[in-house]
């Protein structure tokens, strides 16, 4: 028995009207994301990867085609709080403690006080930030802040995690560490993750499926199913298998890029 896809886009298009004429951020994009998938979107800037993610989140309205999330429209899915969204910047409120920041969506969604406390403790432990509940964001490093923002997206019962270049602003070492953590977290929580990045090693290391996109108009040029095992130590990045997938991603990016 096959489950219906968690996210399904059919011929999705989005055109922004600008003063310089229409910009095709997305054109005829079709993709299915299955339950438990870790899907990375990779491509040069302007390829529409973030726009695609924002369409899934109902933060952007497609101008053509259709998209369903959990078998309902993206808008209904958002209102049902079907996903947690992690932005490029941690976006923690400076006037709330780490615990208070994680509690914020729970307060908005009306969880009971006791439930809130239990959930905050659980997700802090999940992102290895136990003991930092009472600290303010400025007392934490950039990597820790981003972990707190992931914890915030995990705190409520959403099966989908949408991540928009969450580690883009962090240095290589911190990023490696967070990637490892994210994989462990994914294994533990069994969430479906859509992850936007422009780092090839990051995409290959994390994903079960890599979606290569290219700009003008924003479209999917290749979808690569990863053959790597689910258990992935950092050293896997030196195996021939890993390098082969990375090579294919790079080829896909180059092909999509054309002459410019």
């Amino acid at each position: 028995m096959t489950l219906p896809p968690v996210i399904s886009a059919k011929n999705l298009s989005l055109t922004f009207e600008t003063n310089d004429g229409p910009v095709h951020a997305l054109k005829d994009v079709s993709l299915d994301i299955e339950k438990g998938d870790f899907v990375s979107f990779i491509g040069p800037s302007g390829c529409g990867k973030t726009t695609f993610l924002r369409c899934m989140a109902d933060l952007e309205q497609p101008t053509g085609g259709s998209i369903t999330v959990n078998c309902v429209s993206a808008a209904d899915a958002r209102m049902a709080r079907a996903y947690g969204y992690v932005f490029q910047a941690a976006g923690l409120y400076p006037w709330r403690t780490i615990g208070g920041n994680i509690r914020l969506p729970l307060e908005i969604m009306g969880y009971s006080k006791a439930d809130q406390a239990a959930r905050v403790a659980r997700v802090l432990e999940l992102v290895e930030l136990s003991g930092f509940e009472k600290k303010f964001p400025w007392q934490l490093s950039g990597g820790m802040q981003q972990r707190a923002s992931i914890a915030r997206a995990l705190a409520f019962d959403a099966d989908i995690l949408l991540m928009d270049e969450p580690f883009g602003a962090l240095d290589e070492i911190v990023r490696d560490h967070l990637n490892e953590q994210l994989l462990r977290l994914w294994a533990r929580t069994e969430k479906t993750i859509a992850f936007v990045t422009h780092s090839i090693p990051e995409a290959v290391y994390l994903s079960t499926k890599i979606v290569v996109m290219s700009p003008r108009p924003g479209r999917i040029t290749d979808v690569i199913e990863s053959s790597l095992p689910k258990e992935r130590p950092l050293e896997i990045r030196e195996t021939p298998e890993f390098l082969e997938i990375a090579h294919r991603v790079r080829e896909g990016l180059r092909a999509g890029h054309g002459d410019d």
Partner: protein
């Protein structure tokens, strides 16, 4: 705090020196006049002595003002019409009421402007226009009109305070309520937060630093408004009335002591807001 002590004292000292020198210079004419009539000879010592101790000097010396303030605050009963504390209280109550009304009005307008496009387009130009009208011109009208409908005393003065103080609140709060960036608003959207949740949990707390800056300006403006409101009524009480009475009778010492009292009042009020600001922002983890 400690580091600013010496510089402040230096400035105060300098001001006093300039003040005393100016008193000699401005009051000398009268001293020479008197001397001419009585046939006395003016020496440097007698010039200084006399210019610093005249009854109705053009510029009273600091110690004369200090003595007047002492006489009218410490040595008078608070209930006395000659007590500066009594007059300060009259002005203070109008200031505080005007400040309160101005803060409420300013905040409401700011919320309207941020949430309603029509208000954004229509109200803001009027808010700005309201401040281009000289307050001295409109104050008597407010007093007279309100008097005609039977409102007098505290409220008309507070209205003028409000008129001056709502402006910085509107400007500051509009900026403050708009300070959350698109990402933070998107984030609220992903949680399907209601408009009121977004207001109370994001926009309002984000506007706090802006609010306190505005409150300080509004408080000073409200005090000016209250004093101006006391001028045209021929008011019998308040720092404005003291200023007016002083200028009618050439009581420069009285004018200066009322002025200094008003300045001290403003300093204390703004200082209190600064304290509340520090405590609030510290609690919010936003202390500088």
């Amino acid at each position: 705090m400690k580091q600013s002590f010496a510089p402040v004292l230096t400035v105060v000292g300098l001001l006093l020196v300039v003040w005393y020198a100016a008193a000699i210079w401005l009051n000398a004419d009268w001293t020479y006049d008197k001397a001419k009539r009585s046939g006395e000879i003016v020496t440097t010592t007698s010039l200084i002595k006399d210019t610093w101790a005249q009854d109705k000097p053009k510029l009273p010396a600091p110690h004369q003002v200090a003595a007047e303030i002492w006489r009218t605050t410490v040595e008078k009963k608070i209930t006395s019409k000659r007590s500066l504390i009594y007059h300060s209280w009259i002005t203070l109550s109008a200031t505080l009421l005007g400040f309160g009304l101005g803060t409420v009005l300013g905040t409401l307008l700011a919320v309207g402007i941020v949430y309603n496009r029509t208000m954004d387009m229509s109200v803001m130009p009027w808010v700005i226009a309201s401040q281009t009208i000289p307050i001295l011109a409109i104050a008597p009208m407010i007093i007279v009109v309100l008097n005609a409908v039977g409102i007098s005393g505290l409220l008309p003065k507070a209205m003028i305070g409000m008129y001056l103080s709502f402006f910085p609140i509107v400007v500051g709060m509009v900026k403050g309520l708009r300070s959350p960036d698109q990402m933070q608003l998107d984030q609220m959207r992903t949680w399907h937060a209601s408009a009121s949740q977004t207001f109370w949990r994001l926009r309002l707390p984000a506007s706090m630093p802006y609010l306190f800056t505005s409150l300080k300006i509004a408080m000073a403006a409200s005090l000016v408004g209250a004093i101006i409101g006391e001028l045209p009524t021929g008011a019998v009480a308040g720092l404005g009335a003291r200023l007016l009475a002083g200028s009618y009778y050439g009581q420069t010492i009285q004018i200066w002591s009322a002025l200094l009292m008003a300045a001290a009042l403003a300093a204390v009020l703004v200082g209190i807001i600064g304290m509340v600001q520090r405590i609030t922002l510290k609690r919010m983890g936003m202390a500088q």
